[in-house]
């Protein structure tokens, strides 16, 4: 299996990361609206509005259509737990969620650029060292925010790999400038 260059694993990864980046961007754009709606409907005012809709205040929906019969017992219990969370804490979840999504977006963008560089057979370059260091720092921040030890471990391994690529970049430059 080829790892670098055209039609290699790097090429596949670059394409996959592009798709993931677009999905993450859509999620980032929709998240504030979805999050606000969820928080609103968990408040007494939001519940009253939902009740109005259920009892047929809207002419488009018949009573009983939104009985929530599709919700499992676990979902109902989770929803009840979420409703019990104080409003200030619920409001804090929105910026936290946005921060996590924006970090994810940046991580995916950097990773895509790195794999695009590998796809173009530009492996041992100083710009890749800078990209990898940047990516490692972003992953550390992401790991801390999401309490993910695996992400932190990957970030540390990436930082070490940076040193290898750095030495490789020096050797590559020497090789390129040897006549």
């Amino acid at each position: 299996m080829r790892y670098f260059g055209p039609k290699s694993l790097s090429s596949v990864m670059a394409k996959a990361l592009k798709v993931l980046w677009v999905l993450a961007l859509l999620a980032t754009i929709l998240a504030p609206f979805a999050g606000t709606a969820v928080i609103y409907f968990s408040t007494p005012q939001g519940e009253a509005f939902l009740e109005k809709v259920k009892t047929g205040a809207s002419s488009c929906i018949k009573p009983g259509d939104l009985d929530g019969a599709d919700l499992s017992a676990k979902d109902k219990a989770d929803w009840a737990k979420f409703k019990a969370v104080p409003l200030p804490l619920k409001l804090l979840m929105l910026p936290y969620g946005m921060a996590v999504l924006l970090l994810l977006l940046t991580v995916l963008s950097r990773a895509r650029r790195l794999f695009e560089s590998f796809r173009d057979d530009r492996v041992f370059r100083q710009e890749n060292v800078a990209l990898m260091k940047n990516l490692a720092k972003l992953l550390i921040a992401y790991g801390v925010l999401t309490f993910s030890f695996n992400t932190l471990l990957i970030a540390v391994i990436l930082l070490m790999a940076c040193e290898v690529i750095k030495n490789g970049a020096v050797l590559q430059e020497e090789h390129d400038l040897t006549v």
Partner: protein, 73 residues
């Protein structure tokens, strides 16, 4: 860089173009250009030998040392 290549001077004396020299010694124009513009970090002995053979010169004719800022590696 203290070591300067006088490749263009010797090529002009021998009336040889860069692309012709490259074709004879098996180097691309861009590689020879690296040498000519002083960007080269190292020269293989085999390359030096090939240039001297085609330009009918000595290695000392191609290089000149000028004391000055040392190159930082």
């Amino acid at each position: 860089m203290p070591i300067i290549f006088r490749l263009d001077r010797v090529m002009a004396d021998r009336k040889m173009a860069l692309n012709e020299l490259g074709r004879r010694i098996g180097l691309t124009d861009s590689n020879l250009s690296i040498l000519k513009t002083g960007k080269a970090k190292a020269v293989r002995v085999a390359t030096l030998e090939a240039i001297c053979r085609e330009l009918r010169c000595q290695p000392g004719d191609l290089m000149e040392y000028q004391a000055g800022e040392p190159s930082h590696d």
